[in-house]
Every structure is written in C-alpha cells, then in structure tokens.
C-alpha cells in the first residue's frame, strides 16, 4: 500500500507487523511474509538507525518495537493503520489472531 512512499515492500511489512503485534524479531517477521531474513533484518536495522524502532535483547533474540520517543510516531501509526485497513482480510486475521497468552512449557497442543 505504501510502497511508493516507503520505497520497499519489506519496509512496509516490518512496520505493519510491529503495528499489529507491537513487537517482533526478524526470524518471526520474515517467514510471516515469506520474505528473506536478510531483507527484513536490513529494514529493521534501517528503522532503528532512523530512530523509528528500538530493540532489546531477549536471550539471543533481538526484539524490535516502535520507539515511543519517535516524534512522528502518532502520525506514522495513523498512516499505517489506514494502509492496514486496505489489507486482505486473511492477512489481517493472521496478523491479529496470534496467541499472546502464556503457554506452559511442554504443554500438549
């Protein structure tokens, strides 16, 4: 939706993913969109350097989220929300209907 503006499909994917999931890591985002891991990592790094995202390490994973101090955050999220409303329903469902509640270790499905 925002390709002409963002210049890259993966840029938009990263931002939309984090908009809906609030946080995420490259090995989670890349397979969701069937994108290359390197391409997603590159976008995450670009947005972090630009101050739009921040990250923290959780174990060996680098977890990314929006930077609450980014001055255009409200406006950016509004734009992304608008773009997201045009996404196909199945993509929106997949993004939003992920498990968030805790899961005990070794619990059978």
């Amino acid at each position: 939706m925002l390709l002409p503006l963002l210049g890259s499909e993966n840029s938009e994917r990263v931002l939309i993913f984090l908009l809906k999931r609030e946080e995420g890591y490259a090995r989670e985002i890349a397979p969701f969109f069937e994108a290359s891991l390197y391409a997603i990592q590159k976008q995450l790094d670009k947005f972090e350097q630009g101050g739009i995202l921040v990250s923290r390490k959780v174990g060996r994973t680098r977890l990314y989220m929006f930077n609450p101090r980014y001055p255009f955050l409200i406006e950016l999220k509004a734009l992304l929300e608008k773009a997201y409303s045009f996404y196909p329903e199945e993509v929106r469902e997949d993004l939003e209907m992920n498990r968030r509640r805790p899961r005990k270790k070794d619990k059978p499905l």
Partner: protein, 176 residues
Amino acid sequence: MKEIADMTEMELSAYVQSHLRKQGIEVVLSGGGAVTIYSENRYISKGLDLVNIYAVNRRKIRAAMNELGFQEDGRYFRHPETELFIEFPAGPLAIGGEAISNIVEKEVRTGILRIISPTDCVKDRLAAYYHWGDQQCLVQAEYVAQAQEIDLQEVERWSEREGMLIKFQNIKERLG
C-alpha cells in the same frame, strides 16, 4: 588549537560542530554527552550524540569527519587520539512529540557548541525513564537539575502532554 587527545566532551563537540557547520551540516549535542556537560561530570558519557537535525546525507557527514581524522565504525565515528566517540542520530530534534527550538550556544576554545537546553536535557532523560522505566536516566535528570537552573513548570507541562503527569508528580521532588 588544542590537540584532539586533550579535548573535553564540550570542546570536542564544539570542534566537530564548527567543522561540520562550515560544510553546511548542522548538528546539535543531545543525549548522554549533554548530561555530562550539564551535570558537571557527575555522569560521564564517552558517546557524543550530535543530532543530524536536517537529515544531511551520511556520505557528506562521513567525508567531513574523515577530514578531521575520524573513521566510521558502524554507526559511530572514532578517532585514534580520543576515547570519545561520536554518533549522528537521525533528526528531527525533538523530545517525544515536541520539537526543540531552544538551542543553547556556547563559545569554547575549540569552536561554538550548540546544545539542547538544561531543561530539554532533563526532559530527554525523563522520556527514557517514562517510557522504559530507566532508573539511570532518572538519576541523570536529577544530576542535571541539581547543577543547572531548569524550568520545572515546563517539564511538568511537557510531561502532561506526553501523558506522564502522574509519573512526573511522583518524581517531581527529586528534581526540585
């Protein structure tokens, strides 16, 4: 002119800023480096954040820094004669949702330093405390407030706009 090896955070910042300014690159000292200066060295940061306020191309910054003997090392620039390192965070110059327009200028021996105000420095540290619960940043805000005159009413107004009035009220006495 002082050797780079002997320059303080303030002197090195002014030196780099003055060189960049001649090339049309405006940067403003913020972050931990500003805390070091305003806290009168109660907090020491080796990293100097020179915010690239008008989004000048990185290549142009790199070329100017190379002229001073700095080499790019990932997102930082380092010089063989000093432990201090420089980063150019992306602009705009803002704290939370608000732009910073009150930039302080100080003339030092190595050039003109452009730095955020002590009040904005406190807000900058509090932003990290408000959003991430970073206690170290709260302590840094205290150091700055103790060493400099700051406008607490302005900090309160800004905190309210950030939706953080209750958190501000809880720590207000530590800044007074």
